[in-house]
Amino acid sequence: MGHVLVNNTRGKDDVERASLSFLVGNVALNSGQEATVLLTIEGVWVATNGYNDGLQANGFDPLSDLVQKFAANGGRIWVCGACAKPRGITQEQLVEGAQIVGAATAVEALVNGAQSLSF
């Protein structure tokens, strides 16, 4: 089993990129792979409760559905601590399955063989 690490930097500023990140993550899970979405920069908002309500990119399922399915199927959502802190985002505001992490967590995953894809 491989580990697919998808990096998303976007929130409402580009819902398509955010949606594609979770779509790829869901396909990885549905293909028997381990999957993590690493949210950085504005992308950290995607892991906060209620933020995705009403957001849907053309041709994609609603972003909230994509995120919910990803978490429900065992996908990990890592929220960049360095990006969450200046935005006032805390662990208590995050959707289930999301976790604030630091760079070392992502670096460890990469060192251990995770393959990354960025949107």
């Binding site: 396909v27 293909s31 792979q33």
Partner: protein
């Protein structure tokens, strides 16, 4: 004759895989699913998906304006990891 049929319409990419995953879950090991797909990319995507999951893409048949892809469910499905990592909370 396949054990089950899925009309995927024009869906592709993630939605196509999601539909196939749901349909395959209803089958017993060794049974087959016939997928009717109107998006040409379905062939290369489902072939890749089968390689990763252990299922076998038995045939791909062009029929008029769509493809019929027959997938045989693996004897032992590669399990999806449902583990959730709970690491320490870090901050810069």
């Amino acid at each position: 004759m396949a054990h089950a049929t899925l009309d995927a319409g024009a869906e592709n990419c993630g939605r196509l895989i999601g539909l196939v995953v749901e349909a395959m879950a209803q089958l017993a090991p060794g049974q087959t699913l016939a997928v009717r797909a109107y998006d040409p990319s379905s062939q290369i995507d489902l072939a890749a998906w089968c390689r990763m999951t252990g299922h076998e893409l038995r045939s791909v048949t062009p029929i008029a304006n769509h493809l019929e892809l027959v997938i045989q469910k693996a004897a032992e499905t590669k399990e999806v990891s449902h583990g959730t990592r709970t690491g320490q909370q870090h901050a810069r």
